[in-house]
């Protein structure tokens, strides 16, 4: 390598570079003309479809996995709902289960066996037939997971709902599955499980092609126990029976799906779906405004009016959420029921909702939304009454008030709480009104906040919420008040026992009165103040005529209606 050679080569390169730049610039101009003409032709050619059949939706993140059995996050489920279908679906616009791939089912008298009659003529995208054997293959797959696949971080929903695996049958709720004939499958359970049917509507329990599962090693979560790596199946070969089939996943960028031509049901207008990954909420809004996307989820309440004014469509889901103010009874004052009641009376929920929560939000009288089984009409309600709050405080011996830590998360937007800082300020001001001095405790949502609230007793009153996974009361009240939790710091064995009992009843009708009683008990005991059931909003371009909003996010894009 000689210096002079380098220099002269450098000189040549420089000249060449200049020439290249010039060529590129001229080329670019010519290209832009070309590109435009091509585009015009393309659009003219596609006119027979009447509408642009490509639907671009902004996702806030990549899916965690394309195999829904190994996923528990909303972005994964949004994609899997297009590709996969379960035995059980969700009734449009509600949270209630309805037949999907199973046309009907029968429950045995002891509540331990379910016989499903399957839909005929359904094919997986890879040509595999959907039949009773495929159903059993799926159930057996979940049950026989080993090692890393059993970790709650990997198979969250199977773990949470079916408890045990083949190597620990003593905990397992699932027992066996048999294919009685081509289109009849029976699933046997080891104990009654009232939420079984509703649970099967979760994308995690969707039917997947047994052929593809095997071919692409779906259960071979490679790597080591310390560092599991997604299977080839979960990274790019998901095969279901849904209206759309998988095309490509460009990690961090976009996921593409296309209409499955042999779909058994209505295909709808949308032929191609592109999920673009845009993690910043402001960027999502701007992309919609600029016409780069057709829609996005969780529109910030502050943006809804502005977007609507510009002609964009805002659609709210029926609320299936709860936002609450949690009490930590480890704190002396909060252990006193009078104080908890005083705080409940001090909060003006209507003001809170109109000032900080999206349109469509309902005030909460109890911990579950009214669409959930066991919603009780007659619970103790704590209407806004600051005078009564002051009286109750005086009764508890705090006529001069006291100082209280108030924990709230920052830098986060949840479906049940789009702007935590605003909710905090609003409630703080109301509590200060009745003489409680607030000591603000802001924490970054991830990873500090949840650690602080759920990890130990070091917190005061706090803001949190919950989005229901499927229509099951235990998923709301059981999760929160069924056992001692650091969040709330109380022991109420009577309540714990009642919740355990309710969970064990196989029949939903029988469960209902018990859950109603439990909901009333909770409002008497008052471990939290249920504030509101916020309605998450979606924003769409004007060409979207309708979108199948669902309280449990069961939104399949073949039902979208477009006008242009």
């Amino acid at each position: 390598m000689t210096t002079s050679g380098q220099t002269s080569r450098g000189g040549r390169l420089k000249r060449r570079g200049a020439a290249l730049t010039a060529t590129l610039a001229i080329g670019a101009l010519a290209l832009s003309a070309c590109a435009e003409s091509q585009r015009e032709e393309g659009e003219a050619g596609g006119n027979d479809a009447a509408v642009d059949s490509t639907f671009i939706f902004a996702a806030s993140a990549d899916p965690a996995s394309l195999d829904p059995a190994f996923a528990s996050d909303g972005e994964s489920f949004r994609v899997s709902r297009q590709i996969f279908e379960g035995l059980i679906g969700v009734e449009a616009g509600s949270a209630d289960p309805e037949p999907l791939l199973a046309e009907s089912w029968e429950q045995s008298d002891d509540g331990l066996s379910y016989t499903f009659q399957l839909k005929e003529g359904v094919m997986f995208h890879d040509g595999t037939e959907f039949n009773a054997e495929a159903v059993c293959a799926n159930f057996d797959r979940w049950y026989n997971w080993e090692g890393v696949n059993q970790a709650k971080s990997v198979s969250y929903y199977y773990n949470s709902l079916f408890k045990g695996f083949a190597d620990s049958p003593e905990n397992a709720v699932y027992e066996s599955c048999s294919a009685d004939d081509e289109l009849t499958a029976t699933v046997n359970l080891t104990e009654p499980f009232a939420g079984f049917i509703a649970a099967l509507s979760l994308p995690s329990f969707a039917m997947q092609s047994p052929t593809a599962l095997e071919e692409f090693g779906a259960d071979e979560v490679s790597g080591t126990a310390e560092a599991p790596v997604l299977s080839e199946y979960a990274m790019g070969n998901p095969v279901g029976t849904g209206p759309f089939e998988f095309v490509s996943w460009d990690s961090g960028q976009q996921i593409e799906l296309t209409a499955y031509q042999d779909y058994w049901g209505e295909q709808g207008q949308v032929q191609d779906i592109i999920f673009r990954v845009i993690d910043d909420p402001t960027t999502r809004r701007q992309s919609l405004e600029a016409g780069d996307i057709d829609g996005y989820d969780l529109v910030a309440p502050a943006d809804t009016a502005a977007l609507e004014e510009k002609g964009f469509k805002i659609m709210a889901r029926d609320p299936f959420t709860i936002l609450y103010l949690g009490f930590n009874q480890e704190i002396e004052q909060l252990a006193d029921l009078n104080v908890r009641q005083a705080i409940a009376h001090a909060i003006d929920k209507d003001a809170l909702i109109s000032q900080t929560l999206p349109e469509g939000t309902k005030a909460a009288t109890q911990f579950i939304p009214d669409s959930v089984n066991g919603y009780a009409e007659d619970v103790a309600e704590y209407e806004y009454d600051p005078e009564k709050a002051k009286e109750l405080l005086a009764e508890a011996g705090y006529e001069d008030g006291f100082t209280l830590d108030f924990n709230y998360p920052t830098g986060v937007s949840r479906p049940y709480m789009p702007t935590p800082e605003q909710v905090f300020s609003n409630i703080s001001a109301q509590l200060e009104e009745v003489g409680i001095t607030i000591n603000p405790q802001p924490n970054k949502w991830s990873p500090d906040y949840l650690d602080r609230i759920q990890g130990g007793p070091d917190h005061g009153i706090h803001l949190l919420g919950w989005t229901g996974d499927y229509n099951d009361t235990d998923n709301f009240v059981g999760v929160h008040f069924g056992q001692p939790k650091a969040d709330f710091g109380f022991e109420n064995q009577e309540l714990f026992d009642k919740l355990t009992e309710a969970r064990g009843i196989a029949d939903v009708e029988e469960q209902t009165p018990l859950y109603q009683e439990i909901n009333a008990d909770i409002m008497d005991f008052l471990p939290v103040v249920p504030l509101a059931h916020p309605a998450p909003s979606l924003g769409f371009s004007p060409r979207v005529e309708s979108y199948p909003t669902s309280p449990v996010n069961d939104e399949v894009f073949n039902q979208i209606v477009l006008s242009e």
């Binding site: 220099t7 290209l31 671009i56 709650k152 969250y156 560092a227 993690d279 960027t283 500090d448």
Partner: protein, 334 residues
């Protein structure tokens, strides 16, 4: 020459080793852990514990460090906790994007910075000079993300001249071989795709290139002023050599030395600046991924990426020194 390069490369090893240790300790000392970030608000304390056990975060730090280094030495950067894909793979798919963006930013900064600095120096003390100093000061003062935001708001949202985000219009069905989108477009003769990718790079490129631009303007200006007043230029002028020749052969070439160093150093800054620019423009490069890794405390990604960037930075520095050596005979003699 080769010996110098060899020595510098050898020195890189202990430097990176030290860096990896510091990095490891720093990353683990960040408050909280990745478990809750991973599991979200439905995490139970047991699940958090399970995650920590699964990834070995419950083991003593020293053990974790040696396990990590042992794997690193075999080229195993581990697996991203958030995406469950190998760090190397995540990196490989995103690095071309950042490199493409950095290249556009650098072309913008150098292509505009050197002429502007030279122009200012030629009109020293006049309005042209004041204007360029004012502009370059502005370039340094305005934060990258703010500029990115303003550019986007004006040129993408209000005027609609450029796309708002991403690397390519999702409706374009482009073929990708190298993951350098412009290059791919040119290679496959998908002109539409190449042009679209270029348009996606304009605004982020300008936002990212503005600080280096400002710095290059100032360095060029100062350097040209210094050379213009040097003895050899005066001698050349006295000899009656034409002004154009003096400017080209005597002034510019000599003035370029410090500018070259600056450009090299800017490269490192550009890659770190990409974190903000890529976030604003939802640009799928390593910058945005690194930001997510910080947010989710994705230890393997954080560690792997920073070590990688450190290597790049060191290599670029080395390259700058070598090119300095080539341009200036005086450096070579020493």
């Amino acid at each position: 020459m080769l010996r110098t390069i060899g020595k510098r490369l050898a020195l890189l090893v202990p430097t990176l080793f030290g860096l990896s240790l510091l990095l490891f300790l720093w990353v683990r000392s960040l408050p909280g852990g990745p478990a809750t970030a991973l599991l979200g608000d439905k995490a139970t304390p047991e699940a958090v514990e399970q995650i920590n056990k699964l990834y070995g975060f419950d083991k003593p730090l020293i053990e974790q460090y040696f396990t990590y280094m042992g794997k690193l030495l075999t080229g195993d950067f581990g697996v991203s906790l958030r995406t469950a894909r190998p760090v190397v793979e995540e990196f490989a798919t995103r690095f071309p994007a950042t490199l493409e963006l950095t290249a556009v930013a650098l072309v913008f900064a150098v292509g505009l910075g050197i002429p502007l600095g030279y122009w200012a120096a030629r009109h020293v003390g006049k309005w042209q000079d004041h204007l360029s100093v004012f502009l370059s000061l502005g370039g340094v003062v305005v934060p990258v993300f703010f500029l990115a935001f303003i550019l986007k708001w004006i040129f993408a949202i209000q005027l609609g001249w450029f796309p708002t985000d991403g690397r390519q219009d999702p409706r374009i069905n482009a073929t990708h071989y190298t993951d350098f989108y412009i290059l791919d477009g040119l290679m496959t003769q998908e002109w539409d795709a190449a042009w679209d990718a270029f348009m996606h790079l304009v605004l982020p490129g300008i936002a990212l290139g503005t600080i280096p631009l400002a710095i290059i303007v100032r360095i060029t200006r100062a350097s040209v002023l210094e050379v213009v007043n040097a003895d050899f230029v005066r001698t050349a002028r006295a000899k009656g050599i034409s002004g154009q020749l003096i400017r080209k052969r005597y002034v510019l070439r000599n003035a370029m030395l410090p500018v070259t160093t600056t450009i090299g150093l800017q490269l490192g800054l550009l890659i770190s600046g990409a974190v903000l620019t890529e976030t604003v423009f939802a640009f799928n490069g390593i910058g945005r991924f690194l930001r997510d890794a910080i947010f989710y405390l994705d230890y393997p990604v954080l560690q792997g990426f920073i070590i990688f960037i450190a290597v790049i930075y060191s290599l670029v520095n080395l390259l700058v020194d070598v090119s300095y050596n080539l341009i200036d005979p005086r450096v070579r003699v020493q």
